[in-house]
Structure formats: structure tokens, C-alpha cells
Subunit: 137 residues, 2 copies
């Protein structure tokens, strides 16, 4: 329980993203509106060895949902103004990283698996992003 009586949950990273993007500012602004811009962006999902067995059955060519931590978000707001817009909106009507729980969601394409490493395309996360979960899309 937290100090206001709300239940809290602990998550542990299952792996880490390797990406050509070093910082959030490196990621093109288009990510919110047209994810197709990232189809060619290749990188790796390195899953820690103790979880590698959990990857069995993932099919190259398939799409994967990746849950991750916005580990550079730093703060959260209830109202945000998305890039290219002028009116603020509720954070739950946006994909801002500055959320009460800074968990991100993206969909990547699996190119190949090499042991505990997934080679993927469609990346829009930065280098070092902690991975929380992978699910079939």
C-alpha cells in the first residue's frame, strides 16, 4: 500500500531495447500520427537470459506488442498538448510519455530471433528502454 492507501505494484524489466535513437528528442515527431514512418527502423529487443524461454513460439514476420517504461519521462501531467495541437487534452486521451504510470505501448515486426535477442523493425523507443512485457499482436 502507498501512503494514501492505494495499492501499488512492482514491475521488473524483462529486457532492454537497443535502438538507433539515443534520446527522446531523436525520435521523429510523426510517431503519434503515422507509425508507418518507423517501418524501416531496425533494432533489437534483448531479453534477459532468465526469461529467454518465454520467447519460444514467436514467429518471424509476426507483429508483437511491446510494453515498456518511459524511463526518461521524469514527471507526469493530467493535461497535455500533443505536438502539432494547440488545445490541451487529458493525458489518457493522448500518448504522452508523461503519464501517471509511465508505461508505453508499441507494435513492432519480428524479423528474427537469435537466442535471447529479437531483431525487430518499427522501433520508436530510445536506446536503453526497459522492456516490461511482450505479447502477440
Amino acid at each position: 500500500m502507498s501512503d494514501d492507501g492505494r495499492v501499488t505494484y512492482g514491475l521488473r524489466a524483462i529486457g532492454v531495447v537497443h535502438s538507433p535513437y539515443g534520446e527522446p528528442a531523436d525520435i521523429p515527431r510523426e510517431w503519434n500520427c503515422r507509425k508507418g514512418a518507423f517501418d524501416a527502423v531496425a533494432g533489437e529487443l534483448e531479453i534477459f537470459p532468465e526469461h529467454a524461454e518465454g520467447l519460444d513460439g514467436l514467429e518471424p514476420g509476426s507483429s508483437l506488442v511491446v510494453l515498456f517504461v518511459f524511463h526518461k519521462a521524469g514527471y507526469s501531467h493530467l493535461k497535455v498538448t500533443p505536438p502539432g495541437e494547440t488545445e490541451p487534452r487529458g493525458v489518457f486521451a493522448s500518448r504522452s510519455p508523461h503519464r501517471p504510470n509511465p508505461i508505453g505501448l508499441t507494435v513492432v515486426r519480428l524479423a528474427a530471433r537469435e537466442g535471447n535477442v529479437l531483431k525487430v523493425t518499427g522501433l520508436d523507443m530510445v536506446e536503453g528502454t526497459p522492456i516490461i512485457d511482450i505479447k502477440p499482436a
Copy 2:
């Protein structure tokens, strides 16, 4: 840091699900393969008042991604055998609740917002499920 040196993250529920399903066993087995079975299942996402402002801008009729805690999962496995299958597969190639980080993802349809309560259809979570995040689908 956890005792093996891996970084951990703390999440706090932003709300709670009100559902006609009381226990996981009440949820039809079809959930994994044809989510359409739930189109008519109505319920509520009660967002705690301190986060209600974050709902501004959600449009009735739109689809919402809901991240939640599988709070009744209790344990995790790296290999699981989905309902109706005979061969085990890696948990990351499944939607089993018994995951290293027991976070679930579903998509619901927003019927109406009443203050801090979202009336939705398409529910496949049980009563009392902790909500972690809501994003536009």
C-alpha cells in the same frame, strides 16, 4: 534495485474495473481468439477522482486501450499451454495472465463518460481489476 540488481518500477492503480465477471473462471474461454464475443459485455472503468481530469477529450464511440493488473494471477510461468491447445509455448507468445509482469491489455469501446466513470462495452476483465493506464486505440 531488486536483489539481483535488476531495476524495478512501482505502479499505482489509477482506477478499478466494474464488471459482470466476478472471477477469472467466469470469463468465456473464447477471449483469446475472438474478442467479438465481448462486444455486448457492459461495465465501468471507475477512475479515481484525482486522475479524472486526465479523461478530458475521450470521445464516446471511440476505442480505448486499457492496461490493467492481472491481480488474481498469483504466479508466473515461462511456458504455458493456451486453452484448446496441446503444446506449451513461451509466455511472451501467449496472452496468459501468468506472466513475469502480470499486466494485461484489452481494447474496449467508450459508450459514455460520467465524471470519473467511463461506461464501456467489450469488457473481458473481472470485477475489481486494478487499472494502470488508458490510451487512445
